[in-house]
């Protein structure tokens, strides 16, 4: 691409010079940092949890930076949904459930009666005493014949 006159003229415009006092200020700041770095410090090291939080913050900032408002809005929406969900949760007992109360006397009697009837029904019936067959004594054949004749 061949530069035209206007492009060439733009490129020839001189920039404002850097303020002269900056040189000493910046180099002095660097020298001070150098001195601090060389001085042995007795300060306690940064606690691990603080370092972890700092790293987390830095990473999250980098991740969320392109649209922090959108992320914050999404987080707020989730909190609202969670709140609505918790508020709408049914805390009443089931329809059949009643608070426990001591049973009345009539109820206890009815229960006892039912229990007794059930026991009667379930018990096996009284059987008559088994009839013992008389031991059969073998008889003589001739004796039977005699009885027939006499009859």
């Amino acid at each position: 691409m061949k530069p035209d006159d206007l492009e060439d003229r733009i490129a020839r415009q001189p920039w404002r010079p850097i303020p002269a006092e900056w040189r000493e200020e910046i180099l002095a700041a660097v020298r001070q940092a150098r001195r601090l770095a060389q001085t042995p410090t007795v300060a306690s090291p940064t606690p691990g949890w603080r370092l972890l939080l700092s790293t987390l913050n830095s990473q999250l900032s980098t991740f969320l930076w392109p649209s922090p408002k959108a992320w914050a809005g999404l987080a707020a929406l989730w909190i609202v949904i969670l709140g609505v969900n918790l508020a709408a949760r049914d805390t009443t007992p089931a329809p059949g459930a009643k608070p426990a109360a001591p049973p009345s006397r009539e109820l206890l009697q009815a229960l006892a009666e039912q229990k007794r009837l059930l026991a009667e029904l379930l018990e096996p019936p009284e059987r008559p005493a088994p009839v013992r067959p008389r031991p059969s004594v073998p008889r003589l054949r001739s004796e039977a014949e005699r009885r027939d004749v006499m009859a």
Partner: protein, 172 residues
């Protein structure tokens, strides 16, 4: 931690600080930010002298570092593109004062026109026009594809031309 020798930093400052100053001033359009970023850059160089020692092209490396620091500053502040554009639109003394009124008018118009460009187009235009870098060098410096660098330059320059052509035709 081993730090760079003061004389090395002084030499680096004398060689590169004017170019870094104009780049940062054009990119941030804020003199206080430019000052802070320049100091932060030299502190980094002092803390990590190996950084510059390993660089093939010291100027390109320092411009890249300056650009990254400026981007980090915008992120820390949460400065979005709209705020950047508002800041950039405020005219500031970017160019050297000129005694000739036509030249002065052209510089003021150029400063205002640069302020209307998006920051990333402004960075590419600056590196191409005032640092004389190729699109490949600009692409490497800004961590973008060369085609993107070329298109940003073309769009930026077209806008400058549109804005400056009437005045240029008048004073030429």
């Amino acid at each position: 931690m081993q730090m760079a020798a003061p004389e090395d930093l002084e030499r680096l400052y004398d060689e590169h600080a004017p170019a870094l100053f104009s780049f940062l001033l054009n990119f941030t359009r804020n003199e206080a930010d430019t000052r802070d970023l320049l100091q932060e850059l030299f502190l980094k160089l002092a803390q990590c002298p190996g950084l510059i020692a390993e660089a093939r092209d010291a100027r390109a490396f320092l411009l890249r570092l300056a650009h990254n620091l400026a981007i980090d500053l915008f992120r820390r502040r949460g400065t979005d593109a709209k705020q950047c554009a508002q800041l950039a639109a405020e005219p500031g003394p970017l160019f050297a004062p000129a005694s000739d009124p036509d030249e002065r008018a052209f510089r003021e118009a150029l400063a205002a026109a640069l302020g209307e460009l998006p920051a990333e187009q402004r960075a590419v235009v600056h590196l191409k026009l005032w640092e004389g870098l190729t699109f490949e060098q600009i692409a490497e410096l800004l961590d973008i594809p060369p085609n993107t660098a070329a298109s940003r330059y073309r769009y930026g320059l077209d806008k400058l031309r549109q804005r400056l052509r009437p005045l240029y035709a008048e004073i030429k």
